[in-house]
């Protein structure tokens, strides 16, 4: 399994989230998975402006000339995408949010009905599994529940399985497995 961790932590390394990401990657590597970490903080990733050029003018490619294309490349090149972020104001970081929106070229503009809901078809025809690793901070259980629900919907958008939602401070390193 090819795994990419989208590390949406704007802080420098050393946090409990950082350690949890390392532990997750180490466990995955031991099992023989290919694992890569994409630190978003140093990357130049602009906000998606909703122009739809990636659907209407340059299909599959964003018009913004920045490092945001790495997000789609990571999605195309992975079986599992792990969204990792500290919780701020009861949600994942704006950095991770901005990056996840750049997945739009991963989809096609048309709408179809799938499991009773409208969805965009996949451009690359291959589903992508999703998992979430957060540093809970001062988040309430209700906030964590809502964030999990929202990322479950993100998994539906890419027709993949939602594998797990883990809180870095609460999980032992060996438990941060994708199995």
């Amino acid at each position: 399994m090819r795994i990419t961790v989208l590390d949406g932590d704007p802080r420098s390394p050393g946090s409990s989230l950082d350690r949890a990401i390392e532990a997750t990657m180490a466990a995955a590597s031991l099992r023989g998975d290919t694992c890569e970490r994409l630190r978003l903080a140093p990357l130049k990733i602009h906000q998606c402006v909703g122009c739809f050029d990636c659907w209407l003018k340059t299909p599959g490619q964003c018009r913004l000339r920045d490092e945001g294309s790495m997000i789609v490349r990571a999605a195309v090149d992975s079986d599992l995408l792990v969204f990792a972020s500290p919780m701020r104001m009861g949600f994942t970081s704006s950095l991770l949010k901005r990056a996840s929106e750049r997945l739009l070229p991963f989809l096609l503009p048309e709408l179809l009905v799938w499991e009773g809901e409208c969805r965009h078809p996949l451009r690359y025809g291959r589903p992508l599994d999703i998992a979430v690793l957060v540093e809970g901070g001062d988040s309430t259980p209700e906030e964590l529940q809502v964030v999990e629900t929202i990322y479950r919907r993100v998994a539906k958008n890419v027709y993949g399985k939602f594998l797990w939602f883990k809180i870095a401070e609460k999980e032992a390193p060996h438990a941060l497995d994708h199995a």
Binding site: C48, V72, V76, M89, L108, E110, V113, E143, T149, I150
Partner: protein
């Protein structure tokens, strides 16, 4: 009462969110309120926007649904509200969430988050206006949109009169969360007959129709090149 509205659409002034806020603003003004609309995308000063929240009498935050929640720039703004968490005197807040999907159900988890956000801030929540099927509304002829605009203005008027969104009006505006029963064949028909051809037409205009299913990053992936 003065209402501050923050348009969180990355498209700025010409967004569908901005259009909804303008309609609500007209209704609020008709009810004798004053309104100011600010556009988050037109300024990089998120701290200033957060101060705008703190000094507001009534605050409405509107945005489009991006990847099943708020756009990144709205989250940047929300992060800047951290110093105001639990502050006495935070203004009552209301929200507007619109999306291109025909079903408003896509926005419900985000609505749940916004309720918790208001609670975290210690601000009374005035409700969340959720509206689906908004993509392309700005380009539609007035004969199609005038009813929607009238209803939005009416919601704004009642908001000004009562001081909060009327749940009955919100429910009537957005309709059922998901298409079920007899609505499903109609949805299929609308997708095949209107929505998808609309996208194809726009692709044709841009000479991109025959490239519409291009997979520009696939070759690298097949050869195992990681970036």
């Amino acid at each position: 009462m003065h209402w501050t509205m923050l348009d969180g659409s990355p498209r700025g002034r010409h967004s569908n969110t901005s259009m909804i806020l303008e309609c609500l603003g007209k209704g609020l003004e008709r009810a004798g309120q004053s309104v100011q609309i600010r556009h988050l995308a037109l300024s990089s000063d998120r701290q200033g926007a957060a101060q705008g929240f703190a000094s507001a009498q009534r605050f409405i935050l509107g945005f489009p649904l991006y990847a099943d929640s708020m756009p990144g720039l709205v989250m940047e703004f929300i992060e800047q509200l951290e110093p105001y968490v639990g502050r006495a005197g935070n203004p009552p807040v209301g929200f507007v969430v619109q999306s291109g999907f025909p079903e408003p159900g896509h926005s419900r988890p985000t609505e749940a988050y916004l309720r918790l956000l208001a609670k975290r801030l210690g601000s009374p929540c005035l409700g969340t206006l959720v509206k689906g099927a908004m993509e392309g509304v700005r380009e539609m002829p007035p004969v199609v949109t005038s009813r929607l605009f009238r209803r939005l203005e009416e919601i704004g008027y009642v908001l000004g009169e009562k001081g909060e969104f009327d749940p009955k009006q919100l429910r009537a505006l957005c309709g059922p969360d998901w298409f079920r029963g007899w609505r499903v064949p109609l949805l299929h028909l609308a997708l095949r007959g209107i929505v998808n051809p609309h996208w194809h037409l726009r692709q044709i205009r841009n000479w991109a129709y025959f490239r519409r299913e291009d997979r520009p990053y696939e070759v690298a992936a097949e050869w195992g090149h990681r970036r």
